[in-house]
Structures are given as C-alpha cells and as structure tokens.
Symmetry: C3
Subunit: 314 residues, 3 copies
C-alpha cells in the first residue's frame, strides 16, 4: 500500500490548489481552538480557585499560583487575539488576496491592540466573578435538587455556560473577532447550550438541565431570569441582509421560561415577571406579569384493546 | 505588558477576599471532576472488558489487569469519596465557617467510611454488569438500525448514560455526597442525557438517540421501558421547600415514550404498557395499556404562489 | 482495604465467566473508539489544512506534512477496518462461537480488503473536500450571524457534523462494519447532532444551532436543504423486522425545516422548495412549494393578579 502514498498525496495537494477557498496553508494563521480551550480552563480556575484544580492550593502559595496563571493568560490570550485581529485585517483589506502574508507592521500593530484587549479582560475578572457568584446563587435557589453551591459550581452545565458567556461577551463588546464565537461553541459542545456571544444577559441568570437551549445574537435578557432545557430565543427572519438589526427577543426581569418554549422576533418583549409555560410558541409581545400556558392538546386515546376512548380524561 | 501583572494579581486576590463565597482556596479540597472522569473510565473498562481498551487483553493477563484496575479504583475512589464526606461534614458543622481546615480526626473518620463505600461499589460490579447486559439487549432489540450488541456497546450514547447512572445511583443510595451528581453531569455533557442519580430505573432500559432527555431526582421507572430523544420526566413545581417530596412521575413496566414528550408531576403514573406519542404533554395519570397521541395540529398551508390552501390535507 | 482486592477480583472474574455476552476479553479485538477519534482529526486536518493545527504550515513543508498524515492514516485506518471486518466475519460464521480466535488466513484476507477500503477513502478526499466546501458556503449564506467562512469552519457544529457524515457515509457505502456508526456517535457526542451514516445527503447542506437533530438511517435529502436545532427525520415504526425497508423520509431540494419539527415515515416526501415551520409534526407527504406552519396554540392567559384574560392577544 505504501507505494500508493505519493499518488494519494498528489491528488490532495492538487485539490488544495484547485478547490481553494477553504484552506489556509500559509499566512492567515488562525486562532487555535485547542489553545482557546486552555484559555477558558485558566480563566475558570481564576474565577473558581480550588474548584477546577486537582491539587489543593495552600494560602501561602496563592500569590505564586496567581502570578503563574495570569502571566500565562497574558501570553496565550494576547497571541490568539493578535491572530484574530490580523485575520480580520486581511479579510477587510482584500477578500481576494486573503492568503497573502501579513506585513511585519500589521503584525506589530495587531500585537499592541491585542495586549490592550487581553489586559482589559484580565482586569475585568473581579467584575466577572461578582456576576458569576450571583448566577451560582440563582442556580442554587432555583433548583430544589441542588444540595450546595459547591455542587452547583462543580457540576451544573448551566453555570459553565454562563461563565463562558460572560467571558466571551466581554471580548465581543471589545469587538475581538472570531474568539468569542469559538468560545461559545466550545461550551455549546460541552453543555448543549448555544448562547451567541453578542447576547446581553443580566444578573442572576439560571439555565436548568441545559440541553438544547439557543439564545441568539441580539437577545436582551434582564435580571433574575430562569430558563429550562430546549428553550429557543430566536429570529423570525434569517435573511443575510438583516444581520445588523435586532432579530431576537427581549426578556425583562424576573421572567421564567419553561422547557421547550420558543420565543421569536426582534420586537417581541416578554414583560417583567411573566411566566411562559412549556412548549409555548410566541412571536409577539406579552405584557408584564402574564402567565401563558398551552391548553392541553387534543389526544387520540385508545385502551389496551385498541378501542377509542372518547371520554378518557388526562 | 509584564509589568502590569502584579497589579492584575492584586485585583484578583482582593476579589477572593471581598467577594468570597464561591472560592475554595484552602481546606475544603473538593472532589476533582477530572479524577472522577478517570474513575468512570476504569469502571466502564471493568464492566465491558476489551471494549474500552486500545490493546487486546490476553486471557492469561486478565488477572493482572484486574488486580491493577481494582487496586487503582480502591485508591482513587476512596480518596474522592473521602473528600466529599469531609466537605459535607464541614457544610453541616457550620455553613459560616466552611473554609476552616478539617481536623485530623475528621479526615481519619471520613477515610474509614469512604473505604466502606468504595468497597461496596466494587463488590456490586457483578450485579451492575448483570443489569447493564439487560440494557444492552434492550437497545439491540429496540432499534432496527442496530446490527450487533457490540455496535450498541461501542457507540450508543443511551447505553453509556445508563451504565453511568447505575454506578452513580449505587453511590447515591449509599448517600455519598457530590460525586453521584458530578458523574451524572459528566455523562450529560458527553451524551446530552440528564438523569439525576436519585432516579430509580428498572431492568432493560433503553434511550434511543438520546439528546435532550431529562429524568428528575424522584422519578421511578419500571422494567422494559423505552424512551426517545427530548423526553422530559420532570416536576410541576420547582419550589425549594419541596426538595424532599416526590416531584417527578412514575413510569410502570413496558411503557414506551416517543420523542419530545413531557410528563410532569410526582403523582403522575403512566400505567403498565402505555404508549405515549411524540410531543405529548401530560400532567396527570394515564391507565395501563393506553395509547396517547396528539391529534394533528391545525396548519396554515400556502402553495408556492403564497395562496392559502384550505383543503390541503397532510 | 488492600487485602480485600483478591476477593473483589475473583468476583469480577467470575462474573465474566458467568454472565458473558457483553465481554470481549480475547479474540474479537474490536475497533478502538479512541483511535477512530484520532483518525477523524487527521481526516479533518487534511480537509481543512491549517485550521485544525496549532502550528502554521509553511508552503514548502506542505508535502512533508501530507506524506506524514496520509501514511499514518493508511496505517491506522487499515488496522481499524481490518478489526471491524474480522469482527463481522466471526459474527456471521457463528454468533455462538463469537469469542473464538480468528484464523491467520481470515486475518490476512481482512487485511487485504481493509487496505482497499482505506485507499478508496483517501482517494475520495478531494471529492469530499468539494462537497464540504459547498456545505461551508451554505452555512455562511444561511446564517446572518456568520461573519466569515473561517468562523464557520472554526466554530460551527453543523459543519463538523456534516464533514464527519460525508466520511462515515463513504465507509458505509463500502459496507465497512461498525466504524461508520462509531464515527457518527463521536460527532453526536461533540455536537448533539445524530446523523446515521446510512443517510443520503445532497450538496450544500446546513444545520444551524445543531443540538437535538436526529436523521435516520434511510433518510434521503436533496440539495440546498437547511434544517434547525431539534429537527427529527425519523421512522413511524421501530419494529426490528423492518430494518431493511426505507423507514425515514425523503426531503427534496431547497427545503427549509425550522426548529423542533418532526417528519416521520419512509413514504413521506417533502416536496421541492417546501418550508416546514417550527414544531410542525408531519407523517405524510407535502407537495412542492408548500409552506406549513402550526396555527398558534390556544393559551391559558392570566395577569399578575391571576385573573383569567380571555381577550388577551399574543
């Protein structure tokens, strides 16, 4: 079989020349998904010290551990952000010449801007910790099955998703390209929760059971909102030209949305304190304090002898 | 950028002192999620010898391999259970002083109890294997696309979830804190199936396609039950005060529940042999042998010229 | 605790002898899921050179990198396919004697056939790249939130799922046992998208948001089809005897299917250009160009004082 390898290699190399478009062999040097996974783990370990490590951190070692982690983050985060900025520059300069190598000057400029962005994110870690603590408390208060906040931090996918979102959203607000979206898809893969980094989410947010939740780019969510598995906050239109409009709903404070509900449209506002029942389908606004439940659907019911049971009540 | 690191470190260290509550720097030494992942892999390899390894196991090596795996499990499992017991002891002693270091005596006591729990789990491996074999057979029988039981063991997420559940539920019954829930969330992340370790599940259980299934803490499921993707067995009320009540449904023997169905409430009983159709929403009991299907919903139908088609039948 | 280990090992070894059926200690030597994960990463790196690596690939190194990757793939892929062919041979020879060691002649025959299959897959990489490039373009065109095709390749789970499917389906068409299904379940675990390797999927296919999609074994999908999270293309009957019939629907060109829709049955055809709205439930054919939407369900609506609101419109 070994003598066929040159021929196989030729065919693949030819395909890189001919098909093009999807291959970046030289030049672009895109952000690495694996490195961004490591960055997220380091950020999580700074946000929850002692939770993600396998080793115990002694008080007298804390400063050493912090210096090590913050230094590594400065370095890795800056490099990945630099790559994403260089990528975007090339993309804007010329979509045609996107494989041209970047100039030294561009690389240098991107490095400086990247340092600023990554400094800003690390400076914001205390603020992010404050938000995340409220999210953890909301999860503990909102789930009767939760026995302690430690259990929530160690095991709840909804908490992992909101930590990542608060980090990714900070980078999104700074207009860092590519990386926020890669971060949100990393945690989507781990938890089944798909929150676009552009979504604005207020304090004390809790997603229970997690799998299948979708929250679109221009969604706005207030404080103390609780949502369940399979909820979609989505768009009514997916036309490419509408990319810069508000396409996703606004959810005001203290709203609860039960599993499988779908709320669509940029003008749709779910008023403060509303409760949206399971599987409800909503495409227009709902006033504050409303409770919206589906009426039980009509069933076809038969007994074990396959006889139709018209009066059977469930 | 390097000269900013001390300032960044100061801010994060200050946040640990000020915000508190969510950080465990010293003392608690919580169970490690990564170690528990390794424990689950070792347990799976004992349950399915030769399936999870990359190397072939020769018959004459079997005992050596078993001694190695069982010894490692005794050690790692005991250490993690000890940590979880010490954590719970501190939590009960004083929720306020939760960062106080544990006494040597406590550590010693927890170690002894942990040894007992982990021995009991390893003793139960043959019984767990017997249950899991029935689950594999149920999966093979229940899916026309399954070509062999080996395919089922190697690739079905529903099988991976039920193995983990049978392990986590054994630890839950022994009242081991934290670890059962961490185990269930590890497999939730891998499969999209969220089974609370408290749920009681009978023999020959099969979940097909898997993603989005939620089974709550006080659910009881009989034998030969089959469920599909997106099924929720959940609670009607999520009040924290109801944590000790039966909040989730009872599913009797030989019930089939199709994709996306939602069954809620601690008093809801789905009687023996019932069939629950896709997307059905149920909040009260159903007698044995019933078949419950949604009537087709009303549609708005238009043709390609956007004309309304009132008589169009689907 | 250490002195209990021999007793624990005895009990587990006895369980292997007594329960049987689910353990492969010797002989079968099944394909390794971990090796197949590595094979998929190598194939993805050949399809998207420069995207999956952490290091930059220089133009002058390209051929070296290609020879290395193709050689490794020839070796690992052939070994895993050989194992799967030997497994199937034993399964057919005798389901009873399934633990009997394979003869040297069988091993040799399987090796030769495996070399042919793995050559054929590597030869098809340029054709797979052509298909995948169209899928990437369809994703970019179909999602207003997508900023560049690079973002799509780096982060979209729908793209990862369709790449894996196009690889797994090629092996499925060659009738390679076990491996296609293991591949599809690896990507199911990562993305929440469950596409059976038998499904036939045309050019320019896009799945947005991904989680919870199920596409069955005998589904046929045309070109330019777009589907959203939670869509099921499934079977009406799951009787084991129907394994060789077409049990899953046919979706013609240019169809869009919104989130949570369920389309069931082997005779169900969704005609060209049809639009299927969110949560629609369909078990029979729909003519070309139709638009099918659920009528809004009836709601129970109450205001904040829990008063029933009969005229409230949403």
């Amino acid at each position: 079989m070994a003598h066929h390898i040159p021929k196989l290699v030729d065919a693949i190399a030819a395909s890189y020349r001919e098909i093009g478009g999807i291959n970046h062999i030289q030049g672009p040097n895109l952000p690495s998904r694996r490195t961004i996974e490591t960055i997220l783990l380091d950020l999580e370990a700074l946000i929850f010290p002692g939770f993600r490590e396998q080793e115990l951190i002694e008080e007298h070692d804390l400063r050493f551990v912090l210096v090590e982690k913050v230094s590594r983050l400065c370095r890795t985060l800056t490099t990945e952000i630099q790559k994403s900025l260089c990528f975007e520059k090339r993309l804007h300069d010329s979509r045609q010449a996107s494989s041209a190598a970047s100039s030294q000057q561009d690389m240098h400029d991107c490095r400086e801007i990247a340092e600023g962005y990554s400094m800003k994110l690390i400076e914001d870690i205390p603020a992010i910790r404050r938000m995340v603590q409220l999210d953890v408390e909301a999860a503990f208060a909102g789930d009767p099955a939760a026995k302690s906040t430690e259990e929530v931090i160690l095991s709840y996918p909804g908490v992992e998703a909101i930590i990542t979102h608060r980090i990714a959203h900070q980078l999104w607000q700074q207009q860092v390209p590519l990386i926020p979206r890669i971060m949100s898809e990393i945690v989507h893969g781990k938890t089944g929760i798909d929150i676009h980094p552009g979504a604005e989410i207020g304090e004390s947010f809790f997603i229970d059971h997690a799998t299948g939740v979708v929250i679109g780019e221009t969604t706005r969510i207030g404080r103390q909102v609780k949502i369940y598995q399979g909820v979609t906050l989505g768009a009514l239109s997916v036309k490419k030209g509408k990319a810069n409009q508000k396409r996703h709903p606004t959810i005001e404070d203290n709203v609860t949305i039960y599993s499988g509900a779908t709320i669509l449209g940029g003008d749709t506002v779910i008023g403060e304190g509303a409760i949206i029942g399971g599987n409800v389908w909503i495409t227009s606004s709902v006033p504050p304090g409303s409770k919206i439940y589906n009426l039980p659907s009509d069933y076809i019911r038969r007994n074990q002898h396959n006889e139709y049971l018209p009066d059977f009540q469930i």
